[in-house]
């Protein structure tokens, strides 16, 4: 449904927690390796044992700065950490070390542009980025019917940045695209692996509806925070569901923001619905106060400059650079860069060998990426290497094979590669029983066809060049390896000479 046809505007803000790519936790030297046996990566600090003291991980702070700079945030020259107090079994200290009134960065933004223009370019404000520690993991096996929950504290104390956006997103689709852009940025810059399956990236969403009244004013529905979404697709689905649910509720009850408390709802992916959860504690109930165990941090201008210099190129700049270097449309460059660094490297190798950007971009998108989409897997273990693909593209470009034949050879390369056989064009051509047609062979063949088709010859001579197309089917019947484009070209040349 187009935005102007909708009776309301969906207003979305996101809160994203991202695990930083450090070797150790935020305040102690325990490793952050994923999947280790329960409670094997713990020490007195992250267990919250009495007398232990936290010391901040330099790398975590630098990566957090890198994330904030990449999001165009203002970096505070002075920052401190606070205790957020609440009781929960996965939080051994009884408080989380987080940042309250003096986060290290604020006021940034990140723009998302859809390569196909599905929505207008959207610049989303970032309210703040701050550095905090993660909690542990509590597991409850309801099926086993036991009365206990089991607590694994391996994750407790893992460094996270919390990124809070302004409510600037206007559709579930935009929210998903923006998350993809954020993830791409953080992965490109080495801030995080953003692996949602391993909990390295988690998203909560705030959503409500703005409903225009007849008198020009706007009614706003109560804000709902959605939790428990475990993929970007879930985020999109949950937001779409929640917008529809709020619209239905609004029409039924007319309850506006401020007339009901902010609600937290959990997304049930299997059922495809959100469900109400306990009311969130008010911010003052966390009784924040400065953590006396950690001294404040000041950031000098030279440090910022050093981090900026070591940051690497963000996707926005990479897209522009790729389009410029290889002379490809911005949309093509976007698709390639959005696939990540490895696909960019693959593309650049192919384009370099072919000596031309556009055909390489076409084959990459239409054949390589489509195959990856269908079969899964990554570009690094793709059965067709960049050299073989470049060879194939070059030969198609020189007219040795037409595109349809090229596709068959590409499929042949895939088959060879998957069977762990040498996947080069010559091998694929041999396996498919294709032989290249020499120019002499082709000329003889076309000459024979012209003798057999005087009407076509007459038509072409009479100015109807398109009549030559009638020869192509016949030519392929005689020799399936002929290139249709070449048949036409040779036929026209011969007829002109007649």
């Amino acid at each position: 449904m187009p935005a102007d046809a909708s009776p309301f505007t969906t207003v979305i803000g996101l809160e994203v927690h991202v695990q930083l790519l450090t070797r150790t936790k935020l305040f102690c030297g325990c490793p952050t390796t994923f999947g280790a046996p329960a409670n094997t990566q713990v020490c007195p600090v992250c267990l919250g044992l009495p007398g232990s003291l936290p010391v901040m991980n330099r790398r975590a702070f630098d990566l957090a700065l890198r994330a904030a700079l990449a999001l165009d945030c203002t970096i505070a020259p002075f920052t401190k950490w606070d205790r957020k107090n609440y009781f929960y079994p996965d939080l051994p200290k009884g408080y989380q070390i987080s940042q309250y009134d003096l986060p290290f960065s604020s006021d940034g933004s990140l723009e998302v542009v859809d390569p196909k223009g599905a929505f207008p370019p959207r610049r989303v404000g970032i309210i703040r980025v701050h550095l905090e520690e993660d909690a542990g993991k509590s597991m409850h096996d309801e099926a086993a019917g036991t009365a206990d929950s089991r607590i694994d504290l391996n994750r407790a104390g893992t460094p996270l940045v919390e990124i809070v956006s302004q409510p600037d997103l206007r559709s579930p689709q935009e929210a998903r695209a923006w998350l993809n852009e954020l993830k791409l940025l953080l992965v490109y810059l080495g801030v995080s692996d953003c692996n949602m399956q391993e909990g390295s990236l988690r998203v909560d969403a705030n959503v409500n509806l703005h409903v225009p009244r007849g008198d020009g004013s706007t009614a706003k529905t109560p804000i709902v925070e959605i939790k428990n979404m475990n993929s970007f697709r879930s985020v999109e689905r949950a937001l779409a569901y929640e917008a529809a649910r709020q619209w239905e509720e609004w029409q039924r009850t007319g309850i506006e923001m401020g007339k009901a408390p902010k609600q937290t709802r959990g997304w049930d992916d299997a059922a495809g619905i959100t469900r109400g959860q306990r009311h969130k504690e008010e911010s003052s109930d966390y009784r924040y106060f400065p953590d006396p165990d950690l001294v404040p941090v000041t950031v000098a201008a030279e440090e910022l400059a050093a981090i900026r210099a070591a940051m690497g190129e963000p996707p926005t700049r990479l897209r522009a650079a790729l389009a410029e270097k290889w002379g490809i449309p911005a949309a093509d460059a976007a698709v390639i860069v959005n696939q990540g660094r490895d696909v960019v490297a693959y593309y650049e190798t192919v384009a370099g060998l072919v000596g031309e950007g556009k055909p390489a971009a076409n084959w990459l998108q239409q054949d390589v990426l489509r195959t990856l989409n269908e079969t899964g897997g990554t570009i690094t273990d793709f059965p067709v290497g960049p050299a073989a693909l470049a060879d194939l593209i070059g030969r198609v470009g020189r007219g040795e094979f037409d595109t349809a034949r090229g596709r068959e050879i590409f499929a042949g390369l895939l088959t060879l590669g998957r069977a762990a056989l040498p996947a080069d064009v010559a091998a694929a051509v041999a396996a498919l029983g294709i032989t290249a047609v020499s120019d002499d062979e082709l000329t003889d063949l076309v000459r024979g066809l012209l003798t057999a088709n005087p009407k076509i010859v007459a038509d072409v001579k009479g100015g109807k060049e398109q009549a030559a197309a009638g020869l192509i089917g016949q030519a392929r019947k005689q020799n399936p390896n002929v290139n249709p484009g070449k048949v036409r070209e040779v036929a026209l040349t011969l007829i002109r000479a007649m």
Partner: protein
């Protein structure tokens, strides 16, 4: 400055303390006197004083991102009231985690 019974009951809930009505009344009296004592600070003019984030002048204390030896699981669990050799055991926790 005085704290009401309602204030004290709320603080009690946040601190997970089960307070009887008699205890709430006693706490309200004692806490009011403590808060009253501290509130003498409000008599000072602090308009041109920078808020104190930390009593020490030290700044920027960091450590390198280098793994250290952890406790063994047995050591980690030994002081727990209940465990199963791998995890701490606590009364059932249902629903979402409190992490934010």
């Amino acid at each position: 400055m005085s704290l009401s019974a309602t204030d004290v009951a709320k603080v009690g809930v946040l601190a997970r303390l089960a307070l009887s009505p008699t205890e709430v009344e006693a706490m309200a009296r004692q806490l009011s006197s403590i808060v009253g004592f501290v509130s003498q600070l409000e008599e000072l003019d602090t308009t041109r004083i920078e808020p104190l984030a930390h009593p020490l002048d030290t700044r920027n204390v960091f450590r390198d991102d280098v793994p250290q030896t952890c406790l063994t699981t047995n050591q980690a669990l030994q002081s727990a009231p209940r465990h199963d050799g791998e995890c701490f055991l606590v009364p059932a926790v249902l629903g979402e985690t409190g992490a934010a």
